[in-house]
């Protein structure tokens, strides 16, 4: 009998408090599968954010610490100085990373910190009950945009991957999605690549993971996956935005020429 799929030993057996169908569980598992397959569990340190995944350390079977809201990249910076050879990741939501923690993530990229950030973009503040995030789509209803996000009042959503890709120190930037088994397979490959690049100490790695929040979107898990495909992906295009060896400054120079 061949094993097609067994729950990775990178995860504890602790049952999660996530809502039914929440993709945080998938993202967690993929990271830990990759680390397990690369035999890095014993070398890994992770940081859970303030957000629904605040208890990620309960589920992931590696050394971990909690971060104050938004500060995980600064904490990672400190950890990497002490253990330059460890495998280090932050796991952050869109409120945590793209709002309160903007400065920390930009400057981790700026310094070319040698760790990997898994950025879970579910277009909403999950933990606090569904407020607008910087990645909330125009028209999307949240508890602080009850008529739908207005471009006039709140602007258009931030595309973090694109922004981070303008920073020299961010050597690997890619956006993936978790909406289907095939997307999940692709995502896992990207995760693996990011960890490999970290091992080579080339610079900062950033993976934006399009995710769902069935509870605060007010949709069933299945409908949430569909909404992700039909609404999020068109605005947040999947793909690689930066990889080692890309011409310096993919974006700016070109525009500077105008």
């Amino acid at each position: 009998m061949k094993t097609v799929f067994e729950f990775t030993k990178g995860m504890t057996r602790e049952e999660s408090i996530y809502c039914p169908g929440c993709t945080h569980g998938i993202a967690h598992r993929l990271i830990m599968e990759v680390l397990d397959e690369m035999d890095l569990l014993g070398e890994t340190i992770g940081i859970s954010p303030v957000g629904c995944s605040i208890l990620a350390h309960r589920y992931m079977s590696v050394d971990m610490c909690e971060a104050a809201h938004g500060r995980a990249p600064a904490i990672a910076t400190g950890i990497k100085r002490v253990h330059p050879d460890c495998t280090l990741f932050t796991y952050q939501g869109d409120g945590d990373l793209a709002s309160i923690g903007t400065g920390e993530i930009i400057h981790a990229a700026h310094r070319g910190e040698k760790f990997t950030t898994f950025f879970v973009n579910n277009a909403i503040y999950g933990m606090t009950g569904g407020q607008m995030a910087p990645t909330t789509l125009v028209g999307q209803k949240t508890t602080t945009t009850q008529e739908g996000r207005s471009e006039l009042l709140c602007g258009k959503p931030l595309r973090m991957a694109e922004m981070i890709a303008t920073i020299e120190g961010a050597v690997f930037v890619e956006r993936v999605s978790l909406d289907s088994p095939s997307s999940i397979f692709k995502a896992k490959k990207v995760f693996r690549k990011a960890i490999e690049i970290q091992q080579k100490k080339l610079g900062f790695g950033f993976i934006e993971i399009l995710s769902t929040c069935p509870t605060n979107w007010g949709l069933s898990p299945i409908d949430s996956m569909e909404w992700l495909r039909t609404h999020m992906i068109p605005y947040f295009p999947l793909g690689n935005f930066r990889k080692p060896g890309d011409r310096e400054m993919a974006c700016g120079q070109e525009m500077g020429a105008k």
């Binding site: 799929f5 169908g21 088994p181 996956m225």
Partner: protein, 71 residues
């Protein structure tokens, strides 16, 4: 195509139905009669003999409730 074997861990299942939606042979159902200690109706297979062991269900399960084998 081989013959798949799928195991569900009822206690971990939250009845989200994501596995249901990705099974190519549509053999997964939520069992409305079973209820686990967390209060959820858990997923399970009907006609397991149709399973092709693709692993889709386990891949998308957010709660690690599924294992897949090929006999």
């Amino acid at each position: 195509m081989g013959r798949g074997l799928v195991k569900f861990d009822d206690e971990r299942c939250k009845g989200c139905e994501l596995c249901v939606s990705v099974c190519p042979v549509k053999i997964i159902r939520i069992d409305q009669t079973k209820i686990n200690t967390k209060g959820y109706h858990a997923a399970g297979t009907q006609e397991i003999e149709k399973c092709i062991g693709c692993g889709n269900c386990a891949t998308i399960c957010p709660d690690g409730a599924i294992s897949v084998y090929i006999k």
